[in-house]
Symmetry: C2
Subunit: 291 residues, 2 copies
DNA sequence: CGAAACTGTGTACAGCATACACTATTCATT
DNA sequence: AATGAATAGTGTATGCTGTACACAGTTTCG
């Protein structure tokens, strides 16, 4: 959900430029072709095509290209992640990349999974589900903030690569000692995942602004400004009341989420929310234990 | 967070095409210019420029253009939302749009806020925070699923328009009888918002697939396929165990989130998670009441 | 009336993903 | 060793994109 900034054009349903022999002008992509696309993408992500025996050897590996793509996105954001930019980084012409990936979408699929990495391994023994889930949540949030461009890509549910699965595996491991049924486990996984994703949006946005050279103060100011418009509108009585409720209200430079009184940092807000979510999960686990 | 599909190129940090007089080749956009951009965008969203007295009257209103943009995105997705497509819809040449909005970003800012609409008004009296928040959550989820392209835009925290604020206002109203402090209210708002956003990603992705003409079965199949790859990998023992845990494991056509045994629908999964979150919030409210 | 300010049009352009034709390379088969 | 097929990377061209700029027509103020 939610606000947005720099974004490069990605993953068009129909191919973007170029010609397409059988493109019906307005057809919304036939179900079959779309489904096949998803399958192809998934296969490309999971199955390395066999190295052909004939012909000259490739200079680079797919992994090299992916690393180049990631470093471009890390340095300059998703909008800068163009085939030309990646090609230049590896010392290729643009078209050479198409020997490694059939299109930009496939390259991004691979880059996303690689950039996600794997969750940090647990150091000691299992410390109990609550602490383990907390650790997972912070790790995931940190990963997203470290590569804010990952969150700029719209969710399509598929394809999901090896690393994506490994984050899920880790969360299931964190929940190992809860004694929940498989169905409940999957649901809990969804809850935690949903909260962490949703709650990280703001931090990710800040990370993005930072990487574009914007100071934290400037960013907070920009975000606070919109919120503060509520103050002068009768349409937002409660928001207005909260924003003016304490200590002289909100200065223009107040951090976001804007808070009167003792200001809480974004991290504190995340931790606070996570505690609520974990409390709710704990309640369910406890009530289940007797059964 | 999350997977992804068709997406149109949007909101580049530096303007996309065209020339830019003072474009330093690699400059990451100076802090000042970025901040000014955000301020300009916010102003465009909130302040209607005064109608000039001289010159011919505009044929359309900004609102007309926005509606055209929304209907293009509704019908054909975000990738199809191009200046040319919008112009054609209103019967203009492409360039005429620039008399109404300085650039595509501004048009999208306005379209996003308009498309978000306002939360449905409460019909009866306040039914207690829990039920009210629940209603809000379902309304927001429904809104996002109805316009899945909204969730394809990456979050930038700013600018936030009038309707965006109105959703927040409504959530605060739902929380009115909790007796929470302003700071706690804002945090609770963040928690609920985060869960709803994050937990709707999958449903939104399905909605997007649907609007592209993909059947639910096909979509579920595509999503399930990746998950099921875990089964054959020793790297994902827990995921694998869950997926094979019951009733012959997961068929290729199983719905997502994939669940063994009694399958739960996506909506049930959302409801389940929401209950956990609300439980956690309730716990906090109750423990606060004594204090 | 005429100048100023505005509206919508036409044209131009750089950047994008990518189709296609090409040369150079390297192995498998003879 | 010689030959031919499959491959790697290059070069060029195309359609689409957002948008700068110059223009023609319209309206209103001085």
């Amino acid at each position: 959900m939610t606000g947005r900034t720099g974004l490069g054009d990605m993953r068009s349903p129909a191919t973007k430029g170029g010609r397409r022999r059988e493109d019906h002008p307005q057809a919304p992509a036939s179900p079959e072709s779309t489904a096949l696309d998803l399958q192809k993408r998934s296969e490309l992500l999971w199955e390395a095509p066999p190295r052909p025996s004939r012909g000259s050897k490739p200079t680079m590996s797919r992994e090299d290209i992916v690393q180049a793509a990631i470093s471009v996105a890390d340095q300059s954001g998703l909008a800068a992640l163009t085939m030309a930019a990646v090609a230049e980084r590896v010392g290729f012409t643009t078209m050479a990349l198409y020997r490694y990936f059939p299109n930009k979408e496939a390259l991004i699929d691979a880059s996303v999974d690689a950039a996600m990495g794997t969750p940090p391994p647990r150091s000691g023994p299992h410390k109990g589900w609550r602490q383990e889930v907390q650790g997972w949540a912070y790790a995931k949030r940190a990963m997203l903030c470290a590569r804010p461009w990952l969150a700029e890509l719209p969710f399509v549910a598929a394809p999901h690569g090896p690393n994506w699965l490994s984050w899920h595996e880790a969360l299931l491991e964190a929940l190992a000692d809860t004694g929940l049924s498989p169905e409940d486990l999957m649901d809990m996984l969804s809850v935690v995942h949903a909260y962490v994703s949703g709650a990280s949006d703001t931090a990710i946005s800040l990370a993005r602004a930072r990487s574009r050279g914007m100071s934290d103060e400037l960013w907070a100011q920009a975000v606070g400004r919109d919120l503060c418009r509520a103050i002068h509108h009768s349409r937002y009585p409660r928001l207005s009341a909260i924003l003016t409720s304490q200590s002289g209200g909100i200065s223009d430079a107040s951090p976001l989420p804007v808070r009167a009184g003792r200001p809480r940092t974004m991290e504190e807000g995340f931790a606070f929310g996570l505690e609520r979510v974990l409390d709710g999960i704990a309640l369910y686990i406890d009530s289940n234990e007797g059964a």
